[in-house]
Subunit: 188 residues, 2 copies
DNA sequence: GTCTATACGCGGATAGAC
DNA sequence: GTCTATCCGCGTATAGAC
């Protein structure tokens, strides 16, 4: 063994992080194993000592990404429903998020590819997403409202990203932000 | 000329329709030119007498798909805002739509691939989408509400499609349906 | 307009040296 | 664990016969 103990585990984490960024930016299917490894400074041959297949990477990557997202939501410092959701709206519905998919949420970036994947992968994804949903429920008090807002957030980023004009992206983001705020004023 | 006049135009329309179904079901990038042509009963060599490149097909396909969607919305027989949106909610937020992406809206199926495409293609997409938005504005009376609802509709289908459990798909659809209805009750 | 044949690069995955 | 070399199928696109 020429590598110190714990190296493989750390390297795997690093691979997941870098591959996640690349997959969110370019798309997972469209990116080759060689692309993922080059971004990590390795060659494709080394890939299979960390993952059994490209699909195995996808599964691990989804789990890691959703863990990161849930941590972000949990670190929201506000406690009242209004302040909590305001914080999330400003963070999630930002131009920065639209323009930097590599550091953003996995849902608007990869959900359509997840939707076309095998059931095993969807189960992993669903389990993590339900944890995220529960977090929203805790703060908003309603399962229905939690799903509705999550869908609108994802749809807004997806929609804004496919627009050509920057001004229009902003309009879409602000429309959803205002819509969610007044929705909650009537519900909370 | 062994082919009757008007043949090429008809064949192109047929190619766009069948390719659109396949792209929405499998994804555009992941489907090969040969796949599109086989689904139309031709071989890949014939592709280039109809389209100059695969990307050219994508652009034409997006335009055709959005034309179809806008026609659907225009054929909504209801005139009052409540009845109009109810009709759309029941049609769009259905399990059938979740389970049959090949005959559904192009947005939840291909928006993330459009977001990663060149500016030329995004311009075509944006122009058609703005027409769709205007239709929503006509019936709902608010540009903001129109964007908010469109985002939520797209997000709901995308989200439902990536779930493993059918029951959960329904919960998400119904949550968004109810959320939009009460949002409009307070706004209209 | 469609076919077959073909060029050529990239896809995922494996084998063996270090 | 990572490297280079390699297998082999699929990707887009073109050429030429019918």
């Amino acid at each position: 063994m020429r590598y110190r103990i714990g190296y493989k585990e750390e390297k795997r984490k690093s691979l997941l992080q870098i591959s996640g960024q690349l997959a969110k930016k370019q798309g997972f299917n469209v990116t080759g194993v060689d692309g993922f490894m080059q971004a990590s400074g390795l060659t494709s041959g080394a890939f299979y000592s960390h993952f059994s297949s490209k699909n195995d990477l996808f599964k691990a990557l989804i789990e890691a990404e959703l863990h990161n997202s849930i941590s972000l939501w949990q670190n929201n410092p506000h406690t009242t429903p209004e302040a909590w959701i305001d914080f999330e709206l400003n963070r999630y519905l930002s131009i920065y998020h639209v323009d930097h998919s590599e550091s953003g949420c996995i849902l608007p970036a990869l959900a359509s590819e997840i939707a076309r994947s095998d059931d095993d992968l969807k189960q992993v994804y669903q389990a993590e997403l339900l944890r995220g949903h529960q977090l929203f429920v805790q703060h908003l008090g309603s399962e229905e409202t939690a799903w509705a807002i999550m869908c609108q957030l994802v749809g807004a980023i997806l929609m804004a990203r496919s627009m050509a004009d920057d001004a229009l992206k902003l309009i879409i983001l602000e429309s959803c932000k205002q819509s969610i705020k007044s929705m909650l004023q009537n519900a909370l």
